[in-house]
Amino acid sequence: MMQYIPFNIPFVAAALLVGVALFIFLFKRNLIKIVMGVAILSSGVNLFLIALGYRAGGVAPIYTATPEGVMVLPVPQALTLTNIVITVSVIALMLTMVMYIYRHMGDIDAKKSRLLKG
């Protein structure tokens, strides 16, 4: 039983990160904090994917010249890598938009900068 506990810790952490991010989306109004929420959500998902692919004592999945033993799964790592790249561009775009909103409104509080409602 004891040996399974360390395995679950990454999944718990991933769930916590996703939970924190959802909390931010629901209750925070500062636009920068919303951008941070996206970053945290993305980290949670990345951690989840990496933890999925990890095998205890595994080696890097390079087919040429590997030592004997279990390999970690390569596909989740490829997914994670793609997601990191995408998240970087999304966050860059979001921060640009926050910058423009700040220039126009002089504020980054979502409650105050509400031109669009109804």
Binding site: I86, S89, V90, M94, M97, G118
Partner: protein, 522 residues
């Protein structure tokens, strides 16, 4: 020709993707060169989509595997499961592909004059092509991970385009809402993909559907996927971003962003029908989709009534019309496991719902274009400040009347054809739903009558005496859509038989989707 047919799935995605990065270079040669290049390129892609469509309607679904010695070879020799990146184009995919391409062509032609005086046009067209690639890839792809990647491509390009006019504060705000919603929904999709991959070690949709166990984790993944796609298609509890983003996006882009919502709707259908179809009882999911549809229909149109901003009003109508599609296909989903009910009315309901996707893309897209044509000339979207525009903008007025009649489901326009299919078949499933749908249609007519009276009729207003008709490319852009609307209105039966029925069959027939990749069942 044979070569083009075989390779068309990848060419349709690759050509605009490459063009997106060539366009900034071509802009150096002058705007004439760039515009000619864009239109002829999208024309060529339309041609490719057409030959792919003809091939699919004649010979059934087509698979394109990247990196395989033969593109149709889904599984490498000696492997039990598909491991390569794959496009799997069947009836519903090519149906969405055709819709998206027609809308994109009209929107591109319209945009030529519309953004003529703006700065950063090369980036505008780059993002336009990327948005097109994202949508086409989303509907063509055969594996879950590329679904996520294309979802992100269309989100980023769409958000960039929605806030293209950064000099307007509300444009940036609308774009920001869109990217937040998109990022959250895409990450939810990725999380669900992680759950599925963790259990089955598979990413291909067909292989996943083949081995699906329907345990608790799968249901959690289904809930996440459904929430993500409903968020992206602006179904009612999660629709808050749509009016903001639709209202502020530049004219040619609003129909495109609307189409990206429709592509997300396709993803929802693909997941519920193909990935989770089969032995599983789909009645509860069907009812969830139906209730979402009814809520979207009703709340969307009720919110539309009191809007004074013409584009926000149309955006709420777009949400309301999405409800019809969800309702029609939801009824089909609810009775999917009951062959008698499916044959009696389920198939017709789905035909109606799917036919409504293309009808709505045409007339709703066209109405967005007319709204922005007004904004282009008089510089306001406020209905209370408009009046008497029919005196000077004759083409826009005629196009608006056609679109308004079509969206309200007035015979003989195409909106009537698809709505009639939905009313009749849904009535046999549950009469109350059908009555709500008819009521919503009436309110839609009332709302568009209001727009018509306040914007176009009345005496010529002194402030708008100098207003002229919009430039020629904008009229041609709207004209492409009107031509399609009129064609669909005259021959609804032909359209349903040729392109809608194969799409419905492709959704219902999960086994052939799986067999296309996994080979016939042993």
């Amino acid at each position: 020709m044979e070569y083009l047919t075989v390779h068309s799935p990848i060419l349709i995605v690759a050509i605009p993707l490459l063009a997106a990065f060539i366009i900034p270079l071509l802009s150096r040669l002058g705007s004439k060169v760039r515009d000619t290049f864009n239109v002829s390129l999208l024309g060529f892609v339309t041609f490719l989509v057409a030959i792919l469509a003809i091939d699919i309607y004649a010979n059934g679904a087509r698979i394109y595997t990247l990196g395989a010695s033969v593109p149709e070879l889904a599984r490498p020799e000696g492997y039990m499961v598909p491991v390569r990146i794959m496009f799997q184009v069947d009836g519903i995919s090519i149906f969405m592909g055709l819709t998206i391409t027609v809308v994109a062509l009209a929107a591109l032609v319209y945009s030529l004059q519309f953004v003529k005086n703006e700065t950063g046009q090369d980036r505008f067209y780059s993002l336009f092509m990327l948005l097109y690639v994202g949508m086409i890839g989303l509907v063509f792809t055969g594996d879950m991970f590329n679904l996520f990647v294309f979802l992100e491509i269309l989100s980023i390009a769409g958000a960039g385009l929605a806030s293209y006019r950064v000099n307007l504060a509300d444009a940036v705000e609308g774009g920001f809402k869109y990217i937040v919603i998109s990022a959250v929904s895409a990450l939810l999709v990725l999380f669900a993909i992680g759950i599925l991959y963790g259990q089955y070690n598979l990413l291909s949709i067909a292989a996943l559907a083949n081995t699906m166990q329907f345990n608790t984790l799968d249901m959690i993944a289904l809930a996440m996927l459904a929430i993500a796609f409903v968020m992206k298609l602006a179904g009612v509890p999660l629709h808050m971003w749509a009016p903001d983003t639709y209202a502020v996006a530049p004219a040619g882009i609003t129909p495109m962003i609307y189409m990206s919502s429709a592509a997300s709707m396709y993803a929802l259908y693909r997941v519920t029908f193909t990935l989770y179809g089969g032995q599983f009882d789909t009645m509860p999911i069907g009812w969830v989709v139906i209730i979402l549809g009814v809520l979207s229909m009703f709340i969307g149109v009720m919110m539309a009534i009191y809007q004074t901003d013409i584009k926000r009003l149309m955006a709420y109508h777009a949400i309301s019309q999405s409800g019809y599609m969800l309702l029609g296909v939801g009824v089909g989903l609810a009775v999917l496991t009951d062959p008698v009910a499916l044959a009696n009315y389920g198939r017709d309901a789905m035909n109606g719902g799917i036919f409504h996707i293309i009808n709505n893309a045409l007339y709703k897209g066209m109405l967005f274009l007319t709204a922005e044509a007004i904004f282009f000339r008089i510089g306001t979207r406020d209905l209370n400040k408009m009046g008497g525009l029919a005196h000077n903008m004759k083409w826009t007025t005629i196009f608006f009347i056609i679109g308004a009649l079509a969206i309200s489901g007035i015979p003989p326009f195409n909106g009537f054809a698809s709505k009639l299919l939905i009313y009749e078949s849904v009535f046999r499933f549950n009469p109350l739903l059908s009555i709500i749908a008819m009521f919503v249609s009436l309110v839609t007519l009332a709302s568009f009558t209001k727009v018509f009276y306040s914007a176009f009729t009345g005496p010529e207003m002194p402030a708008y005496r100098e207003v002229r008709e919009v430039p020629k490319s904008m009229i041609i852009g709207m004209g492409i859509m009107v031509a399609c609307i009129i064609f669909f209105s005259i021959f609804p039966g032909l359209v349903v038989d040729t392109i809608v029925a194969p799409a419905t069959d492709a959704l219902i027939d999960q086994a052939s989707y799986i067999n296309g990749v996994m080979g016939a069942a042993p």
